[in-house]
Each structure stands twice: as C-alpha cells, then as structure tokens.
C-alpha cells in the first residue's frame, strides 16, 4: 500500500493551495508528512513534539498561501520551513531530558520502591517496546540489539557485520524513531510521564 501514489504534482498542489483549496492542503500533508515528521523526530527526540512541529510547518504554508505565488521548487520551500522550525525547536529540546530507550528494556532496574501502579505501567511499557523491537527489519533489529543490549560500539558492530559505522548510525536512528512512534501510538500521552518515572526509578 503506497499512500503517496495518486497525489498530484507539486506545481498543481501549489496552485490549488494558493487559491485556498483545503483538499490540496490535505494532499500536501499526505505527500510530505513522513519526510518532515521523521526528520523532526530525529532532531527533537519526542514524538508528540515532532507531530506538533510537523503540523506547524503545514500551518505556516497555509497561512502564507496568498504570498506563495509561483515558485519553482515547492518541496524545497517546505523543507526550508521545516529546517528553520527544527532549528529553533532544537535549542528548547536540548534543555529537556532525552528519551532513553535502553531503560525501557532493562530487566529489574534498581528502584526507589516504585508504587505497584508504576511497576505495572513499567511492565506494560517494556512489553510494548519489546514488541516494537520485534517489528524492526531483521538487520536493523540486530544492529539495535548489539548496540543497546550488548553495548557494542558502532565501529565494533560495523566490523562484525561489514557495514559502515555511519550506516550503523542511521539504522540506530531509524530504530529509535520507530520505537518512539510505536510507543506513542500504543500508549498515548505517556512518554513525558514515563521519563519522569525513569528519573525516579534510576539514580542516573
């Protein structure tokens, strides 16, 4: 199933958006949301933040639609808006606690006596993360496991699997993005509170 299959070309979409077509905006979103969302997620770490940022990109396009005129490269324009948005959000996110996926998959962490409620939630999160990991493509899953569970460096993994370390990096990023997105899809609204839970459970 390829959802981008029947969407008109950018110049058609641009013309229609300029004349205020909401359908064209919806099609634009369908066409480019993945590129924008996953880039935002990579740089901004939190899925809900990445979703908001993605929305804001499309909102911006709509808001200035009168001034769009005819441009040669609409896609480029979208990406510039995205880049600017990510850059300004990046400063904020650097101040935030990152989402550490390793912690979701460790067995029996040292704890400060979390409540039974928290323990149960943690079990649920762990099970969800494990399911997400199981859904990764084979090679990616292997790389993720070697890095996160066996603590191998990218160079070591690269040597073992005969892959460039930069490619390893990309696989890890894609794996993280998928797991974060999967977690948010299955346990909505919980990432932030979970990070707080993790901080309680772990002594950094």
């Amino acid at each position: 199933m390829n959802p981008e299959a029947n969407i008109p070309d950018d110049d058609v979409l641009l013309t229609q958006i300029t004349s205020g077509s909401e359908t064209a905006l919806a099609l634009l979103i369908k066409k480019y949301w993945k590129d924008i969302y996953f880039l935002c997620l990579t740089y901004l770490d939190r899925p809900e933040i990445a979703e908001e940022a993605t929305q804001d990109v499309f909102v911006k396009v709509w808001q200035v639609r009168d001034r769009l005129g005819e441009m040669n490269n609409f896609k480029n324009y979208l990406f510039i808006i995205t880049r600017n948005h990510v850059f300004s959000e990046l400063r904020k996110s650097l101040h935030r606690e990152p989402v550490d996926l390793k912690m979701y998959s460790t067995d029996d962490p040292e704890d400060d006596h979390p409540s039974p409620q928290r323990q149960l939630e943690f079990k649920e999160y762990k099970a969800t993360v494990d399911r997400a990991i199981a859904l990764l493509p084979e090679k990616r899953r292997l790389i993720f496991r070697l890095s996160r569970f066996e603590g191998m460096s990218y160079n070591e993994i690269g040597q073992k699997l005969d892959i460039k370390p930069s490619t390893i990096n990309d696989h890890i990023t894609q794996a993280n993005n998928f797991i974060k997105t999967y977690l948010r899809a299955h346990i909505p609204g919980v990432i932030i509170s979970l990070t707080a839970v993790i901080i309680c459970l772990y002594d950094k």
């Binding site: 199933m1 909401e22 359908t23 905006l25 919806a26 099609l27 979103i29 369908k30 949301w33 993945k34 590129d35 969302y37 996953f38 880039l39 997620l41 990579t42 740089y43 770490d45 979703e51 908001e52 929305q55 804001d56 499309f58 909102v59 709509w62 808001q63 990406f79 510039i80 995205t82 880049r83 990510v86 990046l90 400063r91 650097l94 101040h95 606690e97 990152p98 550490d100 149960l120 939630e121 399911r131 199981a134 859904l135 493509p137 084979e138 899953r141 990096n169 990309d170 890890i172 990023t173 894609q174 993280n176 993005n177 997105t181 999967y182 948010r184 899809a185 299955h186 346990i187 909505p188």
Partner: protein, 394 residues
C-alpha cells in the same frame, strides 16, 4: 575550526539518541557561536533532501500519526479536515494499562470509544431507524467451553461436565483442561462457534484454542517426537525438550517448534494460513519449502501452497483474541465480520458493501450490540440484528 569534528560527532550522537546531558549542554553552547548555525542548517537540509530518516516501509502506526497530524493541522487553521478517497475510518484506540480493568468496565469502555474523536472524516448524519428498531434482540459473547473426545471412546461436552477428573486422564479446571496420561491414547478437543478453550498438554505445553478450532493430540507423548494436529486458530506455548521436538501439523504443513510461543491461524474461510512467532524459533515446512521464523515474524501460505515471510503485520491484531480482545488496525469490514460470526455464532449477511479500514480495540466479553455500536460510531456502517442474523449496511 578545530572544534568542527567534535561538532559533527555531537550531531551524530544527537540524531542517534545517544547525546548525554553534558553533550546537550556542549551542543547548546556551540549553537551560540557564529558559523555553527550554518553547519546545522546545512546538515538538516541535507537530511531532508536525501530523506535519510524517512522509513521506506509503511507500517500501520504511520496511518495513526498521519491522521493526528492531519487533524492537528486543520484544527490550527480553524477548518474541517476534508473528506477524501480512499475512505479511511478510524475509531479512536483506547489502550488500558491493566487489561483486567477492561473486563470490569466493558460498558464504559465502549461508550468512551464511541465518544472519541474521528481522525479523518466527519461522519454524515444518516437517517437511521432507532436502535431498538434495528436491533431486535442481542447476542451474548462466547464462553469458555468445548467438546472433548477420546478416539475410539467417549465424547463429552466440557460445559456440562463438572470440574475435576473427566474421561480418565483429564482434569477440568476453571480456566483450563489438563491432560496427564499414562498410556498413549489420541484425543480430540474442538471448539464450536463462540467458544474458546485452554489445554495443558502432558509435557507442560499450553495450547489456546480460538472458536471453531480443534487439536488432535496424544494423552501422553512417546517416541522421538511430539506431534499434534490442529485446525482453526491455535496459540502454542511449548515446553522445551531438546530430545523430543514439538511438531504441529496443519492443513498439509508442518510447523516444527524449537521451544517457543507462536500463533497459527488456519481458518478455512480466511484467504491465507498464517503462522506468527512470538518468542523462540519455529521452522515452517510446506510443499517442500522450509521457512525459519524468528520472533515477531509471520509466515503466510495460500491455497496454491506457496510459503512466504510477511514483511509487515500487526502483532496486536494477530494475538488480540488470546487476550480476550478484538483488535483491528486497518481491517476490512469483511475480516471483522468473519471474526464476529465465529465468536457470536451468528450469520452475517451484507445489504451493502462497506468500504474502508477500521481501527478498534474492543473487549470480547460484550454482547454483540455493543460491538456493533462501536463500529456504527464511525458513521460508515450500520447493522440490524434479527435472531442469529446480522445484516450489514452502509
């Protein structure tokens, strides 16, 4: 600048989620310095252009994210999300941290789901007869219970048998049937429509049977292999025994287990036979083809007997039945209604063809009217119930 290589490394760590708090602080500082802004922007531009973080595969969770983005964007500009083809209908997924709560609060769950948000479409108000007129009666969900028979011996209905010893080698409990034989005798456990059952085999393995399924098994395993035969949908949790491999025969295939948990869906009226591995490893043999499955993998074979590994599927949807749920992540109305027919023991007839993909999480222990209500809440389908017949309309 001598700091540039470190800067790139910091960015690498940022993008792969390995930047520690100290690194965050450093990176933040660097962003204040002239020249670095351009470096970051250039890197982001490059990432966007090459699409290096955009996943090639399309997973169903992507649909959910897209819809949230769609809805959020249109909300922010104060407009309604336009209707578009292909029709996609969503019932908001409710996830509960504790499944047991779901069972107690079934009615509340369904109401909440109906009151939840529509992601892509605003349903058109339809002129419908009232529910009292459309649903002439209700149908209760299946209960645990099954038919057990010994080959060449007696047959009993497990519902009517009391707890305790039955048919010699079996012990019937509240939750499961356990077998512990001393001599090899073959038995058949089958579930009719609207029944599930749990069976503990003599080797310590556990088997869950969905409705309209069966397992043929020996009361005790002897010889070099443990072999059982199944039909329908069955979930296995196999006790490890390296000296006696566990094999399942189903529809002309053999699934050999290597100490694991897996689900087999072999209903005759489904298009394909699916084996899904949860943990461990299994070897699927069909028509001389062999496929090894790892955790989280699924194999499919169709009527021509061709065996292949499925790239993407939804584990939740596949295993929901065992948890007492109906879970759909983009299922067609036909697929949903096939399950409904099996679980409630009803006949399903189509007044109209209903297009679209449905997403829902509904506990199984609810009367069929509640389940149909949830689906009707999408505005894309409605039903009538008369006796044991459910008719589907647009």
């Amino acid at each position: 600048m001598s700091e540039t290589p470190d800067f790139e490394i910091l960015l690498d760590k940022l993008t792969s989620g390995q930047l520690d708090p100290e690194g965050c602080r450093l990176l933040n500082e660097m962003l204040d310095k002239p020249g670095f802004t351009e470096l970051v922007e250039k890197r982001i531009d490059n990432d966007l252009e090459t699409g290096k973080y955009t996943p090639e595969e399309h997973h169903r969770i992507h649909e959910m994210v897209m819809e949230r983005i769609m809805k959020g964007t249109f909300a922010k500009i104060g407009r309604q999300v336009p209707v578009s083809e292909p029709v996609v209908t969503r019932v908001h997924r409710i996830h509960f941290l504790r499944r047991s709560w779901v069972r107690y609060a079934a009615a509340a769950v369904i109401l909440f789901a109906v009151a939840g948000t529509y992601f892509l479409l605003q349903p058109k108000k339809q002129e419908l007869l009232s529910q009292a007129e459309r649903f002439k009666n209700d149908v209760a969900p299946g209960k645990t219970g099954a038919v057990l028979s010994i080959e060449g011996g007696k047959t009993i209905l497990l519902d009517t048998a009391a707890n305790g010893q039955v048919l010699g080698h079996f012990t019937k409990g509240d939750k499961a049937l356990t077998v512990a034989g001393t001599e090899v005798q073959y038995a058949l456990l089958s579930t009719p429509i609207a029944r599930t059952e749990v069976l503990n085999l003599s080797d310590g393995s556990t088997v869950w049977l969905n409705a309209e399924s069966s397992i043929r098994f020996p009361t005790v395993f002897a010889g070099s292999e443990r072999v059982v035969e199944v039909t329908g949908e069955v979930y296995f949790k196999v006790a490890h025994n390296a000296n006696m491999p566990f094999k399942v025969k189903v529809a002309g295939q053999v699934i050999e287990d290597i100490g694991t948990e897996f689900n087999i869906n072999a209903y005759g009226n489904e298009r394909v036979l699916k084996t899904t591995l949860v943990e461990g490893a299994v070897k699927v043999v069909a028509n001389g083809n062999i496929l090894l499955l790892g955790p989280g993998q699924q194999s499919e074979s169709d009527q021509t007997g061709i065996l292949k590994r499925v790239a993407i599927f939804d584990m939740d949807e596949t295993l929901a039945w065992k948890d007492g749920l109906f879970t759909y992540n983009g299922a067609s109305m036909e697929a949903i209604m096939r399950q409904v027919a099996r679980w409630y023991g009803v006949e399903v007839v189509y007044g109209d063809k209903v297009a679209g993909e449905f997403v829902a999480d509904i506990p199984r222990e609810v009367p069929v009217s509640k389940l149909l209500n949830v689906l009707e809440g999408t505005g894309k389908v409605h039903f009538t119930i008369e006796g044991k017949k459910i008719t589907v309309f647009k």
